[in-house]
Symmetry: C2
Subunit: 504 residues, 2 copies
């Protein structure tokens, strides 16, 4: 029942196959946009719930700011726009009228409006009205919203013209407090990646040429996909006083002096779903970490004969009810009974491809034996995939099974991340040779091109070299050796340790 | 501490004053749009949570569809566009370029894109791909999204260019099932209005000329605001096969024949927050029904002297902890301790204007007496507003106090709704005279113009009369007398009972 394309045979096509097989999303008739279907959106809702709780625990409140930003706001924030992709959706008209039987844009706007690619400018405008004195600070808000960037080569979840995200925005009275906020939120992201998405990440900051336009520092978390490429899974920007100055966010300090506030912004997007796929899915389809699975356990009744229906269903409902009372990760276990009018074997495969962590099948024989067939999704193609378990044993072990599942996923991804960071490359020549390889590496198989951890000189020449090699510095990781060495791009003396990789 | 404008002195200004005093939202620099601030957004999040649970309980799943709809989709759905306000935001360009130092729209799109005013057309397009056989039906989905309609006279929460909503969309194999779905969702809306918003509504359907364009029937809930005007609080449309035909949603029936599906759509918006204000707020500010209050109980510590801090705060935290363990409406009570560096009396008034249901003040004397000062928001300006209560008594009665609060709000609104429907008007002349009055009625005070329940002939002439009188038929209520009478607009013979009113 393997997908049409496997990771080894055609990785990019395999990615699309997983999305289709798991029925998570599809390309829309609206150019470059996606339709997120219930299983994909259900995963997003779980991510939202987990992250939203953390955002609130760390003192932020949710708000909502306008979708449209007047063009003049971008004119004002020149550096921001200069660096930012200028590919944006622009609203120029406000009416449709029928002309010669055809609907035609009409009602030209005096000032064009930009569909937000991100909201720093419009939110800074509000902050400038809200902040008068140090007593009004900090302001710590977040919004869950859609944003638009006019991508020319869209790819579901990874790069679509419209995507969903949260964007946090804060303003503080001091440099230190704002910088700390940006770091705190990076930690929230890496904790959620580890604890909810079962995805290990490397924390660090971006080099100067990869920073968010207008930022003093851009912090990020980077994950390693199964093909060795990096995926930026979240960013947190310390913006210093840059946005405060262009939007005039000023306050009267304790010292009686007017000063500019220090701001931050931070976000994660529906791209996380793409990273989940490329971290956990296999050649059979999706594998969803239990903490964000819309259903953690799915029960498929097997009823071949109408006479057995009542007996099987009453047993199934007893199982459902017992499991639903169990808790995992501080919440009741999410159990689904699939009663659709479909062949049970088709249902089992459907949930397998969707990656529901545990699928239970219950037929007349199981009722007789007081047991059930348990399939643990991540054990597929091993003898442990299918297990006959006693009713009570399964109920009492359900929570542990989910936690083991989570840890198995995390450990597999972490082993990949730890074992595929080359640290033995020391010269520009070796580096060139490494990244010149044709990559066919997928999760332990094939010819490998993954991460290189080594020195970087910050020399402008090095940036050109990276472009040639189609690699980038993913981040300057938190843990630095502090030793001097040779830049892996220029052979010049260098202090910084960085992560080099190809990326999504 | 009364607001600058009261309901009686200037109702429209009072509405704005409440929003500002409660810090719920503000006008944005993005023309015609609003910024929803934490207290307003927190109320929306609670409404979302309550409604989303009900939407899921009734068998729907959440999805997400694109923001942009190609212009050609509107061309296709001619009747839909014809009736629909054609005031929409239109994206015509996809790039900003610098020309003569000015950012200028560039990259003209081949086909203009409409920012969704509602998503029937784009969702029907997906349905047409998803549905092949009767086994694929019903499809029952919902999305939480932003939508845009180019309002010329924006008003916060009631009428803004961008607003937030949920829109449910379903497709069914039979007329009856789809019609039932539309009615079921209307009931969900009226239940949520009553049980969560403490807002009684009249359920009914719209007359032909007020239906959603393309609908067979539009069902709605209508609420009475404190000034006697009606506010449409939610709609549910039975669309028959109209959208299925233009989008080609066809399926192979059990009978082996190709046929068109029957669809529905239904939605409520952030307008509900406007209806909450005009249902429950008073001349002191907002009053939030407990079930959707972000904080149900706020504790304000009173510390005049630093030496008392520890003693007061330890008592406050004990109170917080005891209250947080209590449940109301199936959830733990949401308690907030306001520790901001501000005068406690200012905090108390701030929460009063925000409409937090219960505000508790705790000072050194309360600690000594093992009590606290309890202020119950809806009792303001009565002797019951302030009560000294013993610690244990308050904790054990907290849930009941919140439920009483909810019922008090509901009963007050329901009394208003029941007592201000004129049923004694029987001729067009009386009707004319009634609505010709200058309305100064606010919740029992002043000259009254509210609802009239009476006959309607469905005569086209009557529609013109209503325009002249600046009234409309709010709905044809579910409960019909079935008796014949005279149309209150034309004096012609008429069967239908309708609700006539001015409206928002």
């Amino acid at each position: 029942m393997t997908l049409k394309n496997t990771r080894a045979s055609n990785y990019p096509e395999w990615y699309q196959n997983v999305i289709t097989a798991a029925d998570m999303a599809e390309v829309s008739s609206s150019p470059g946009c996606m339709v997120i279907k219930p299983w994909g959106y259900g995963i997003w809702e779980r991510i939202q719930r987990v992250l939203d709780d953390k955002i609130k625990e760390t003192g932020h409140e949710n708000c909502y700011f306008p979708l449209f930003i007047p063009l003049s706001y971008f004119q004002k924030e020149a550096e921001h726009v200069e660096g930012f992709a200028k590919e944006m959706a622009i609203v120029t008209h406000s009416r449709l009228t029928m002309q010669d039987g055809k609907l035609t844009p009409d009602g030209k706007l005096e000032e064009p409006l930009i569909v937000r690619p991100t909201s720093e400018t419009i939110i800074a405008d509000s902050f400038s009205k809200w902040v008068k004195s140090y007593r009004d600070l900090p302001i710590m808000i977040n919004q869950w919203a859609n944003v638009v960037r006019w991508e020319m080569r869209p790819r579901i979840f990874l790069r679509t013209r419209e995507f969903l995200w949260q964007e946090g925005h804060t303003a503080h009275a001091s440099y230190e407090e704002a910088e700390q906020e940006a770091k705190t939120m990076l930690n929230v992201y890496s904790d959620v990646a580890r604890d909810a998405l079962a995805m290990p990440v490397i924390k660090g900051r971006k080099p100067e040429h990869e920073k968010f336009p207008g930022a003093v520092d851009t912090y990020c978390i980077e994950a390693m996909m199964q093909d060795g490429r990096a995926l930026q899974a979240g960013t947190s920007h310390f913006l210093g006083q840059n946005f405060a100055k262009s939007a005039d966010i000023k306050f009267l300090g304790k010292d009686g002096k007017q000063q500019y506030a220090y701001t931050t912004s931070w976000g994660v997007t529906t791209r996380l779903i793409g990273s989940l796929i490329m971290t956990h899915a296999d050649d059979e389809g999706m594998v969803v970490p239990p903490k964000i699975a819309p259903h953690q356990i799915v029960i498929v009744p097997i009823i071949k004969d109408k006479a057995q229906r009542e007996e099987v269903m009453s047993y199934v409902m007893r199982l459902y009810s017992a499991l639903s009372k169990q808790s995992y990760d501080g919440e009741k276990i999410r159990v689904k009974v699939d009663t659709r009018d479909k062949e049970s074997v088709d249902k089992m495969w459907e949930w397998t491809r969707k990656g529901a962590p545990i699928v239970c099948e219950v037929g007349p024989r199981d009722v007789k034996n007081n047991g059930l067939m348990v399939r643990t999704r991540n054990k597929i193609n091993t003898p442990e995939w299918k297990q006959v378990v006693q009713f009570d044993d399964f109920v009492s072990s359900a929570s542990k099974r989910l936690e083991d599942f989570h840890m198995d996923l995390y450990n597999a991804a972490n082993t990949r991340l730890q074992q595929n960071q080359r640290t033995d490359i020391t010269t520009a020549e070796e580096m060139q040779a490494y990244f010149a390889q044709q990559n066919s590496w997928v999760n332990g198989q094939g010819q490998k091109v993954a991460f290189v951890r080594g020195k970087w000189s910050e020399d402008p020449e090095s940036v050109d070299k990276m472009k040639e090699m189609k690699i980038s510095i993913r981040c300057i990781p938190e843990d630095q050796s502090q030793k001097e060495g040779n830049c892996l791009l220029t052979n010049k003396k260098a202090k910084l340790d960085v992560i080099y990789a190809r990326s999504y």
